[in-house]
Amino acid sequence: MSNFSVGFRQHDGVQILDLHGELDAHTAPELEAALQKCLQHGHYNILINGRDLEYISSAGLGVFMAYIEEIREKGGDLKIAELKPGVYNVFDLLGFPLLFDILPSEAEALERFARGERPTLPSS
C-alpha cells in the first residue's frame, strides 16, 4: 500500500496539488502521473501544497526538476507552498529556492500567480 497520495483542487485558474505522506523513489511516479494529468488538461499554473508532506527524497525533487522547464515554456509555473521545516531543508540543501518559487503560505503563492510572477532560470 502506498504511503503517498495527491489531492486535486482548483483556485482562480491555478491547479493545486495537495501532497500527503512520504515522497520517495517508490511514490515519485504518483506525483509524476499527477503532473502529467495537469499538463494533459492544459493546466500550467500549478501550486504544490506541502502542508501534509511528511518526507521527501531526491527522487521526489527530481519530478519537479523534470517538468519545470516544460511548464514555464507553456507560460505557466510550478510554485511550492507550506512545506514543513524538515522537508524545506531538503529543497534548500539542493539549492531549489534559487530556481523555484517556494512560499510560506498558499495565499502568497496564489497572489504571485495572480500577478504573473515567476523566477527566471539564470543563463550561465
Binding site: 525533487l61 527530481g62 526538476m65 539549492g95 534559487l98 530556481l99
Partner: protein, 151 residues
C-alpha cells in the same frame, strides 16, 4: 569497545525504502540522536538504497540489500552492502541543478545529498560485495539525558 549491531535485509525494491527509513529512525532515536540527525540519517540511507536499486542492481527487484546499524562510542554508522555493480565514487561529478533542469532530468542528486547530510561517507568493494558506510558523529547534544536527570 562497546559496539552494538542491528541488521536488516531487504529485497532491492523501492517498496522497502520506507522499511529501511523506519529501521534507521528507530535505532537512531533509541541511541539518543537529535531529531535533525535522525532526519539526515533517514534521508541518506534512502538515497543510498535507491542508488543501489537503480544503479547497482539496475532495477532488479529481488536482489539483497543488507543494512546494518553500528553504534560506536563516538559515531552512529549505517553500513549498506549489495552484490551488484560497483559504484566508483572517484568518477562521480556532482551535477549542476540548472543543467539538470535544462535537460529535463530529475536524477543524479542522491550522492551529492548523501555527502551533504553525513559527516563521513566511505565506499569500498570487496569480492562480490560493495559497501557504503554512512557516518554521523555523535555530539553532546545527541546524547539523551536519562529520565532521572531531567528537571
Amino acid at each position: 569497545m562497546s559496539r552494538a549491531l542491528y541488521t536488516l535485509r531487504i529485497p532491492s525494491s523501492t517498496r522497502y525504502l520506507q522499511t529501511v527509513r523506519r529501521f534507521v529512525e528507530r535505532h537512531a532515536r533509541a541511541a539518543g540522536l537529535s531529531e535533525e540527525a535522525i532526519e539526515r540519517l533517514k534521508l541518506a540511507v534512502d538515497e543510498a538504497c535507491t542508488n543501489i536499486i537503480k544503479h547497482a542492481y539496475k532495477g532488479r527487484p529481488d536482489r539483497p540489500i543488507d543494512v546494518a546499524v553500528l553504534l560506536e562510542p563516538d559515531r552512529f554508522v549505517v553500513r549498506i552492502r549489495d552484490q551488484g555493480e560497483a559504484f566508483d565514487p572517484t568518477r562521480y561529478r556532482a551535477p549542476d541543478l540548472r543543467t539538470l533542469i535544462r535537460k529535463r532530468q530529475g536524477g543524479g542528486l542522491g550522492v551529492r545529498l548523501i555527502r551533504q547530510l553525513m559527516d563521513e561517507v566511505t565506499y569500498r568493494s570487496q569480492g562480490r560485495y560493495n559497501e557504503v558506510q554512512l557516518i554521523k558523529y555523535l555530539t553532546p547534544s545527541d546524547t539523551a539525558l536519562p529520565p532521572s536527570a531531567s528537571a
